[in-house]
């Protein structure tokens, strides 16, 4: 499990990006729930931590696809694939992320970069 940040340091409506590779973001919803998903939009290289958080959905800051924080499902184009979700545990006020073992759905440009190809 990876420690992310303290719950008190993450106000409701905000997101915290874990700079691992690929990056993961932790969201604290207005209802007080905490979720973790892959930070990179599955369509293009955009940080969902910079997105528009509304209820249990985050809208990509660039092209407006919305992802469900609970399931990772995407609602509309241009993204077509879901984001990976991760388990979250809060212990003694600290948020921990248990990374998913599934393969991430990264956009083509980022996947190429991680594979060592041209960016």
């Amino acid at each position: 499990m990876i420690p992310a940040c303290r719950l008190v340091d993450l106000p409701r409506g905000e997101a915290y990006r874990l700079d691992i590779d690929p990056p993961v973001s932790v969201f604290h919803t207005d209802d007080g729930e905490v979720f973790a998903i892959d930070d990179t939009c599955t369509h293009q290289d955009a940080s969902l931590a910079d997105g528009w958080l509304e209820g249990c959905e985050v809208e990509c800051p660039l092209h407006a696809s919305k992802f469900d924080l609970r399931t990772g499902a995407v609602d509309a184009p241009p993204a077509k694939r879901p984001v990976r979700t991760h388990e979250v545990h809060v212990e003694d006020g600290m948020i921990y992320v248990q990374l998913s073992l599934d393969a991430p759905n990264l956009p083509p440009c980022v996947a190429a970069r991680l594979a060592g190809g041209p960016a």
Partner: protein, 381 residues
């Protein structure tokens, strides 16, 4: 559904999502299934995105629609709600969604001259991409977003690029003079020539273009010319239908037209903007995606639902590696201030205000603060 691009697809999805269970016919004049147009001037033109990646429908999606593709709608019988097609057939419906989009404007007298392109459709992009890979001198007529994105892509492909803009400042319409000048300075930063304040008199060449002739007498040599001088709504087919037209299909704030059971969405639709108190056509991708939901609600309810306030319009552009984002309307602003970053770094966040109230925001490589401001604009609306 007349129109099978983003607005038509979004309307079809909204119908199913809102519980419409009946027959659904989608008519499209292009042969292709719905595809994403923004990459046509960027990643697809650059060759870094394949055609399959442009598809707007996931493999798993089934809208239970009948797709009539490659056939153009040529007429609408308003009272009967019957759409006449170019092949002589007719589709009758209880409700019609008009989503026929817009077509690229062309320069008169340039038909049939090889090497001259517009960019709107996948077929346009394929043809232009094939020519760009040969290299040479590209002249882009029009310094708007399409022109600037094509110039940026062609520059990255190694072409010699010149942009010709009739107005003194490119992008002054959507971004205002001050920020239009800052954004269009990206051309010069990369050695792309920008000629402003001069119109185009014509093109020269026998069977293939060899130069662009300017109104001040100059001649700019060209192997390839891209004409990016805006788009006109595709509404000619509605002539005689009785539907009210005014720079596109005139609509209420929920997409309803002057004909019962007919709504219009996307680039062809001129919706009433309650905030501004006027009708305007919004040619943005996000409008084509978000507004069909409201239009379909109005169509299914027969207008019994009060339309909600739409979010301020939002669009983006990618030029020379800079992510440009804009929300709101620049036209009503009386001041613009740079709140983050420096203009010379091309990483700025600028806020447009009218009487001290923010009405629009522009970001260049500033996605996080841009989103903060965009939310603020929506909340104030």
């Amino acid at each position: 559904m007349v129109g099978a691009s983003l607005a038509g697809l979004s309307a079809a999805r909204s119908l199913r999502k809102q519980g419409y269970d009946g027959r659904l016919v989608v008519i499209g004049d292009e042969l292709h299934r719905p595809y994403d147009r923004p990459p046509l001037s960027k990643e697809f033109l650059a060759g870094s995105l394949a055609e399959a990646d442009l598809a707007l429908e996931p493999d798993t999606e089934d809208l239970r629609a009948q797709w009539l593709l490659g056939v153009r709608a040529v007429g609408l019988d308003g009272p009967q709600r019957a759409v006449r097609l170019a092949d002589g057939s007719e589709v009758r419906a209880d409700g019609v969604v008009i989503a026929t989009g817009a077509a690229a404007r062309t320069l008169p007298g340039t038909d049939g001259l090889a090497g001259v392109h517009t960019l709107r459709t996948l077929d346009d992009a394929r043809a232009l991409r094939d020519e760009l890979t040969l290299g040479g001198r590209l002249v882009v007529i029009g310094g708007g977003f399409i022109g600037a994105e094509v110039a940026s892509t062609a520059y990255a492909l190694g072409l010699d690029v010149t942009v010709v803009e009739a107005a003194p400042t490119p992008l002054a319409g959507p971004l205002g003079e001050t920020m239009g000048a800052i954004v269009s300075a990206l051309h010069a930063d990369h050695g792309v020539r920008l000629l402003c304040g001069v119109g185009v008199k014509g093109l020269s060449g026998e069977s293939r273009v060899d130069a662009v002739l300017l109104e001040d007498g100059r001649s700019v040599p060209a192997d390839i010319v891209v004409v990016g001088v805006g788009a006109r709504p595709c509404v000619e087919w509605l002539a005689g239908s009785g539907i009210e037209l005014d720079d596109g299909v005139k609509c209420g704030a929920d997409g309803r037209t002057s004909l019962a059971g007919v709504v219009a969405v996307g680039d062809c639709a001129s919706w009433y903007d309650p905030r501004a108190g006027l009708h305007r056509r919004v040619e943005h991708w996000t409008g084509a995606r978000e507004r069909p939901g409201a239009a379909v609600t109005a169509l299914l309810a027969g207008g019994a639902v009060e339309p909600g306030t739409p979010r301020p319009p939002y669009f983006w552009s990618d030029q020379y590696g800079v992510k440009i984002q804009f929300a709101g309307h620049a036209a009503g602003a009386d001041s613009v201030t740079i709140e983050e970053g420096a203009r010379d770094d091309r990483n700025v966040l600028a806020v447009y205000r009218r009487c001290g109230h923010p009405v629009a925001v522009l970001g260049m490589n500033q996605p996080r603060p841009f989103m903060r401001w965009r939310k603020q604009l929506a909340a104030a609306a």
